[in-house]
């Protein structure tokens, strides 16, 4: 049965009339794993399957204590009820728990070489599935974890994903999340990370498919010199709705955080982005930056952006920037002088913008699949069902008409 819950809470809320403080999801979560799932773990890694409640209790014993906000823009904490914070938040955690989603606890110790986890989920039309994992990455271990979700292009269903990672001292995690679901899917993707001294996480995230997509990421940089580096690419057209909430909490000394978001919106797509850098007391010498670049291709899109910096430490450097708009007239003119018309130039720029993120996916097959997906959405000449593709890119770029 469908239930409604709130996700992606802004840590410091603002005017309610903007409808940006959180997102509301109406969907039914399932406790089933995807029917078709390929999971590959490195040698030496151990896996235990726990109930959600057991996993949270275990996490509380294993992960460093996270401080709840003492103060949120003058209010008592409005929202932070989780012991181990994630981007989508406590209501999603509760919904997964209520749905009976099992959690795979994966222990990864140090090894001489980088270790790789691959989780590839192929969903069928009408399937509702969940996948929850906790990665405990031991001291100085180096891990790459890849999660790819896909389905037929016009398939519908629900996929609820949850990945939490505890990075011990000096550990390194390269996490890639690639969402290539069909046009009728509701996709939820929730990440929570804690990084001890010298630990670092790199996140590459691509949100390309689904009808409704909710993304949340919360790295907590607890140890000295912990770091978080992320690159996200998204592409939404048709009637797609995308809600993104990144909340980087910097608590350790000399921590580093760099987040970039590159997106393209066409047709009647709607997107909300909340990106927060939160410097807590004790984070002296830390740096945090975020940048969002959004390319708008239709006058019917809705783009809402909230780049937030919260700061209670003097000795920090924080910055954020956003550029939102259409293609630069000068770029179009230059390309026109080279015989490339506006429609083709637009496709080139979309491919270039998202391709730069896709190239960082640490798996060749996944990289190609993401690039093919972008090509299909951008250019229906290469789409296998060009004649009736519901996501055909708008040739005129700004009228909302289908090609």
């Amino acid at each position: 049965m469908a239930q409604t819950f709130k996700v992606g809470h802004l840590p410091s809320i603002t005017w309610n009339r903007l409808h940006l403080n959180e997102a509301s999801v109406e969907t039914a979560l399932s406790g089933n794993l995807p029917g078709s799932r390929y999971l590959s773990l490195p040698q030496g890694a151990s896996v235990r399957t726990l109930s959600f409640a057991q996993a949270l209790a275990e996490l509380e014993k294993t992960a460093p204590v996270q401080e709840q906000e003492k103060y949120v823009a003058g209010k008592a904490p409005v929202y932070h009820p989780q012991k181990f914070g994630t981007g989508l938040g406590a209501d999603y955690e509760q919904a997964m728990q209520d749905a009976g989603v099992p959690v795979e606890w994966i222990e990864i110790g140090p090894a001489e070489q980088e270790q790789t986890i691959t989780c590839r989920m192929t969903l069928q039309d009408g399937e509702s599935a969940s996948c929850a994992q906790i990665l405990h990455v031991g001291e100085n271990a180096q891990v790459t974890a890849l999660y790819v979700s896909e389905s037929a292009e016009d398939a519908a269903g629900v996929l609820a994903l949850s990945v939490r990672a505890v990075l011990e001292k000096g550990a390194s995690l390269k996490l890639a999340l690639v969402q290539l679901l069909g046009s009728g899917f509701t996709a939820l993707s929730d990440v929570g990370l804690s990084a001890a001294d010298g630990a670092g996480a790199e996140l590459i995230q691509m949100e390309l498919g689904a009808d409704r997509s909710y993304v949340g990421v919360q790295p907590e940089l607890i140890g000295k010199e912990a770091s978080f580096d992320s690159a996200m690419g998204y592409l939404a057209n048709g009637e797609q709705r995308l809600d993104i909430n990144y909340n980087a909490v910097q608590r350790g000394r000399q921590t580093r955080c760099a987040m970039t978001f590159d997106g393209v919106l066409g047709d009647r797509a709607q997107k909300v982005f909340r990106g927060t850098i939160d410097f807590r007391n004790g984070s002296s010498g830390s740096k945090g930056e975020e940048q969002e670049n959004v390319l708008l291709l239709s006058n019917d899109v809705e783009n809402r952006t909230m780049p937030v910096i919260l700061c209670e430490e003097e000795d920090v450097e924080g910055s954020h920037g956003a550029t939102i708009g259409r293609l630069d007239e000068q770029v179009l003119f230059y390309l026109a002088t080279r015989g490339i018309d506006a429609a083709e130039a637009q496709k080139m720029m979309v491919r270039a913008r998202l391709g730069a993120v896709a190239r960082r996916i640490p798996d060749e097959a996944a990289r190609h699949r993401a690039q093919d997906y972008i090509d299909r959405k951008v250019n229906c000449d290469t789409c296998v069902r060009a004649a009736d593709c519901p996501q055909a890119w708008n040739e005129k770029g700004s009228t909302g008409e289908k090609s």
Binding site: G74, E302, E314
Partner: protein
């Protein structure tokens, strides 16, 4: 490693004096229908205004306190007197103003400023204006500058009724509803078509009474092709109980007109400053806000500009300095409706000694606003780790034909910059003060000289003892 800084609190003796209010007329504390009706009686409101007040009171009772922003728990409306009047009417010359009130404004330098650099002055003391005057040559141009109560029943009654609380309706938020119920005092300005007022007009608001509220309403209409600079100043002595300022400013900028609205806000640090300011800008017109927020215990202040006309433009330049015990939530809101509209926000904030400064804004570009351009730049300076500085901007863009840029930076005074200045023979204290003044320079350079000097003086006082 970062140096810690020991910074003294501002010397507020210039503003922190009180007058005896024993013979003042003061309504009971609290907010009831009876009190609102008595304010209406006091002011001889026309019937529509009496109904408007009562309707606003009902809205106030229904609308919740904001769930975002600084806490207002210390504000108990049952202990706020919404109407306090000195035993004097409004005067046209300073000589007629009672000595104690005149002395107050003399200490604040208002009569001197009027003589030297202003086209007209309105001085409000608690709930009522005590002085209003405009230079003859400005009046001869057809410029109207009067108290709002007179305008409500005089020649411009219909114009006032047409515009009063239409930009900021009482339904807007709880404190707009409060204002609609108990407003008192404030100014009405009308600048006729094509008239340029060469030197600024100024209103100065002084809240002397303990545990009282000030709810003045400023209504300015700048007609087609006209040009005006209006300055607003405010201060109050400090009490150990909460005072409240919930004023409202409504600005109408006609086609191809220009209005600059400058404010140096220096309320005492027991003040809840819950002020609402909004401008409607027609085709080809320009609105400029210059805003300095230094005082108050708690502030909610976000001047809003509705760029309704094609090719209209707005600039907002603001600085906020939050010291010990202060929680100042300030910023701006731009709403782009017309084609080829443009806006620019340049905001600076400084936090020290446990002060909390929040920059909050929104840029809203409607589907109709093709060709819109907006650029936001905000910088925050943290002077110690007891303080807090938050930046909470929003952008809501609904057309592809727009160019929106936003950048924000937060940080501390760089050791390199201090070292460089010290290597040139400047003391560390002076070097830090110079850097902060430089940081605030984009705002101070937009102010008339006297006000820029006042602002720099405030910053210097805040930075003493570093």
């Amino acid at each position: 490693m970062a140096n810690t800084q020991d910074i003294a609190d501002v010397d507020r003796s210039l503003y922190d004096f009180r007058d005896d209010e024993s013979d003042f007329y003061r309504l009971d504390e609290g907010l009831t229908e009876e009190i609102v009706s008595r304010i209406s009686d006091e002011k001889h409101d026309p019937d529509w205004m009496r109904e408007f007040r009562l309707k606003s009171l009902r809205l106030y009772e229904q609308i919740p306190v904001p769930n975002w922003g600084p806490p207002v728990d210390g504000l108990d409306m049952d202990h706020i007197a919404t109407y306090v009047r000195a035993n004097t009417g409004m005067k046209g010359t300073w000589e007629e103003v009672p000595d104690d009130i005149k002395n107050t404004f003399e200490k604040l330098g208002i009569p001197q400023a009027e003589r030297e650099s202003l086209a007209g002055v309105g001085a409000q003391y608690d709930s009522e204006l005590v002085y209003h005057n405009v230079r003859q040559e400005v009046a001869d141009q057809g410029v109207v500058y009067t108290d709002l109560e007179s305008a409500l029943t005089g020649e411009y009654a219909e114009m006032v009724r047409e515009h009063f609380m239409k930009l900021v309706p009482p339904t807007d938020h709880k404190f707009a509803a409060l204002h609609g119920a108990v407003w008192s005092g404030g100014s009405f300005v009308y600048v006729p078509k094509g008239v340029t007022v060469e030197i600024p007009l100024q209103s100065y608001f002084r809240l002397n009474a303990r545990g009282a509220g000030q709810f003045e309403h400023t209504l300015i209409i700048v007609d087609e092709g006209a040009d005006l600079h209006f300055i607003e100043g405010c201060s109050a002595p400090k009490y150990n109980v909460a005072n409240l300022h919930a004023g409202c400013v409504e600005l109408y900028v006609g086609r191809n007109a220009r209005l600059r609205y400058s404010t140096i806000e220096n309320w005492s640090k027991n003040m809840y400053n819950l002020n609402t300011k909004r401008a409607l800008v027609e085709e080809g017109a320009t609105m400029e806000w210059v805003s300095g927020s230094f005082g108050s215990h708690t502030s909610y202040l976000y001047p809003t500009t509705i760029l309704k006309g094609d090719n209209s433009h707005c600039e907002f330049t603001g600085i906020t300095f939050a010291g010990a015990g202060q929680n100042l939530d300030t910023g701006a809101r731009m709403v782009h409706l017309g084609k080829n509209t443009s806006s620019y926000i340049n905001s600076k904030s400084i936090s020290k000694s446990g002060g909390i400064s929040t920059y909050r804004s929104s840029i809203e570009v409607a589907k109709t606003a093709s060709g819109a351009k907006s650029s936001v730049s905000c910088g925050s300076l943290m002077l110690d780790s007891e303080s807090r500085s938050d930046t909470i901007p929003a952008m809501d863009i609904r057309t592809a034909d727009a160019d929106i840029g936003h950048e924000a930076k937060i940080g501390r005074i760089g050791d390199d910059a201090v070292f460089y200045l010290m290597s040139r023979g400047i003391s560390e204290e002076e070097a830090r003060a110079m850097i902060v003044s430089g940081f605030a320079n984009p705002v101070s350079k937009e102010l008339p000289l006297e006000y820029a000097a006042e602002m720099n003086n405030l910053i210097r006082l805040e930075m003493e003892g570093m």
